[in-house]
């Protein structure tokens, strides 16, 4: 072998080895492109239970500022949206649009099952703690001290839902939402860090405070969960969850449960800007189940493509559907351009057809 051949071989091998090495390190360690993903997921995961069955994330600021949201706001249900936001603001003093930067939520079905007390929401942003606490007290919430943190508990909390907003005074004509004292599922709120508010059941909020103080087991230490959360980086909305746990807790009738595909994990990563780009992934129990699921989805895609061949406004969306995945993974990517939302808005705005006499 001549010297120049030897150099060529060395350089080629070097490119391959350095490339593979870099990719391997990135695969196992991750190259964070965002500070929120410094641990292989948002920082808030360290306050969430390790047994969480579903984790969801939304970059509220980005989504609220997106072109799609602005168009959606103009086109569809403007009043309903604003009413919902106002109700939440009246209840908690938090303005979703301006105060919240991002939200991470989880569903922990290990203790309470699929009940009201299973959810925990951590919202990061700029909050006026005194105002929020005062507003909640005005609506009947009580303030407790839990390990040095102020825990606002709605044991006697009367949310100002329509017909219930009377400044905290009980309306004898309306049924009151009054959880029993010391109810572990009572709605609670605590500022566990500056700019980070935890909302959820008393138990889960207290546990979040425990984790903030003492650390220990959390969603951030659950490697299996993290391995599914890491690929979500880059999406401004996403959710990851254990389908098998959800199915077991949902107590579905056998006839329905048997029809569901044997999926263990699912994930949805979305990017909302001018349109919506999303990747839906499912991890099947084994390769055969994944192949079956791929076949089913492929069949539906082919059918959808044939059905929408005469509808150009939906055709672009259906053509963007792409099935992928190997082994136990089945993935479906989609891109919904803003024109599709416009078309849906136009259809929704049409007056219903009158029945013929």
């Amino acid at each position: 072998m001549t010297v120049r051949t030897r150099y060529f071989v060395i350089v080629s091998l070097l490119v391959i080895v350095v490339g593979l090495g870099t990719g391997l390190v990135a695969y196992y360690v991750g190259f964070p492109t965002s500070a929120f993903f410094s641990r292989g997921g948002p920082d808030e995961l360290r306050f969430m239970p390790g047994s969480a069955s579903v984790i969801a994330y939304a970059d509220v600021r980005e989504v609220m500022a997106s072109e799609l949201r602005q168009r959606f706001r103009k086109a569809v249900a403007t009043g309903a949206q604003e009413n919902g936001q106002r109700e939440f603001q009246n209840l908690t003093g938090i303005n979703i649009e301006t105060d919240i930067e991002r939200v991470v939520a989880c569903l922990d079905l290990s203790a309470n099952g699929l009940g009201m007390g299973a959810g925990l929401v951590l919202a990061r942003g700029t909050f006026d703690e005194t105002k929020i606490e005062a507003l909640m007290r005005q609506h009947g919430a009580a303030v407790e001290n839990y390990k040095g943190k102020r825990l606002v508990v709605g044991d006697r909390f009367t949310p100002p839902f329509p017909g219930n907003d009377n400044g905290g005074a009980a309306d004898p004509t309306q049924p009151q939402i009054t959880p029993p004292p010391q109810n572990s599922e009572a709605f609670s709120l605590a500022f566990i860090e500056p700019g980070l508010v935890a909302l959820g059941s008393r138990t889960l909020v207290q546990q979040a405070i425990d984790r903030q103080i003492a650390g220990g087991e959390s969603a951030a230490t659950n490697e299996e969960l993290l391995s599914h959360v890491r690929p979500m980086e880059g999406g401004n909305v996403w959710a990851v969850g254990r389908m098998d746990v959800l199915r077991a807790r949902a107590k579905l009738p056998d006839i329905v449960a048997n029809q569901l595909p044997p999926i263990t994990w699912f994930s949805i990563r979305g990017r909302i800007d001018g349109g919506l780009q999303a990747l839906l992934s499912a991890e099947a129990r084994d390769d055969e189940s994944a192949n079956n699921l791929r076949d089913v989805v492929r069949g539906f895609l082919a059918l959808a493509k044939l059905q929408t061949s005469s509808k150009p406004e939906f055709q672009r969306f259906v053509q963007s559907l792409e099935l992928s995945g190997t082994g136990r993974t089945v993935a479906l990517s989609l891109d919904v351009p803003s024109q599709v939302f416009d078309a849906v808005g136009a259809i929704a705005a049409q007056p219903p057809a009158r029945p013929q006499q």
Binding site: T2, T22, A26, Y28, R230, D287, A302, S333, P337
Partner: protein, 272 residues
């Protein structure tokens, strides 16, 4: 000559042939073929730095998708078979055309070891050029809206699949080159006629192609551009990865064995 001398002789031939192949005029073609995707990826990267990538058929492009398209359409469908044809058929045919095969056959080595040595030189040459090209394309394209770590399993699978593809096509065309007088034409007909034809026809004929087994190893989804292609995908049968691997190794082994036998038994008459 006994069988034990086959490998050392083949290694000696490999050592000589690797340099010859790398610095031959044919390598200009190889350089263009593997350089074009890198240049294309660099251009896309530069474009993406200042502009939004276009939306095609309603689907927004991103780096990992583009990388999958480049691997599927440029490497699997074009570069790998073309390299196999041009290099594989030339392993023996070039020596016949240059009338230098007589000198090789007068050496005290088995004729088959010449073919095997040249085949490994071909494999070393193309693998050392194609795989770095794929790695460069990966690092240029994937960061556009994607993540290096996330797509790494696909890269590793692609590199393995391409190496096996180069080995399989090279072995098949080494056999063609050893058996036929005008192997290049037969090779091109096989790649761009037979393989493309049988893959689009339902039935078992596709099993008589290399592409059928190679496609099963591609980790990227086949681009679907129409309802018809979606339906074809829905009804297509694709062998499991392990079956494809077995078939591809059998193709390599059988082709090389037959090519070796052909070189050993054939009388090469050099045109004056």
């Amino acid at each position: 000559m006994n069988n034990s001398s086959l490998l050392p002789s083949a290694l000696r031939i490999f050592d000589i042939s690797l340099g010859q192949m790398l610095w031959s005029r044919r390598s200009v073609l190889l350089g263009l073929l593997v350089g074009a995707p890198v240049l294309l990826a660099a251009a896309v990267r530069l474009f993406a730095a200042t502009n939004q990538l276009p939306v095609i058929n309603g689907a927004g492009l991103n780096g990992p998708t583009l990388f999958g398209v480049v691997i599927w359409w440029l490497f699997v469908r074009f570069i790998v078979p073309v390299l196999g044809v041009f290099y594989g058929t030339a392993l023996i045919a070039d020596e016949v055309d240059d009338k230098t095969i007589t000198y090789l056959f007068t050496r005290p080595v088995r004729r088959a070891s010449i073919l095997i040595g040249k085949y490994f030189a071909y494999l070393g040459c193309v693998v050392l050029l194609v795989l770095p090209s794929v790695v460069l394309v990966y690092f240029l394209l994937v960061p556009i809206g994607g993540h290096i770590g996330e797509s790494f399993p696909a890269l590793a699978a692609d590199l393995g699949m391409l190496a096996i593809g180069l080995a399989a096509y090279g072995a098949v065309f080494a056999l063609v080159g050893a058996m036929l007088k005008r192997p290049l034409i037969a090779g091109l007909v096989f790649v761009f006629g037979w393989e493309l034809g049988v893959l689009s026809i339902p039935g078992y004929l596709k099993r008589l192609s290399v592409a059928y087994y190679l496609q099963a190893l591609v980790p990227h989804a086949m681009p679907q551009d129409s309802s018809i292609s979606s339906l074809l995908l829905a009804i297509q049968d694709q062998p499991p990865v392990w079956v494809s691997l077995i078939y591809l190794f059998v193709i390599v082994g059988l082709s090389l064995w037959l090519a070796g036998k052909s070189v050993e038994n054939r009388e090469y008459v050099l045109e004056q």
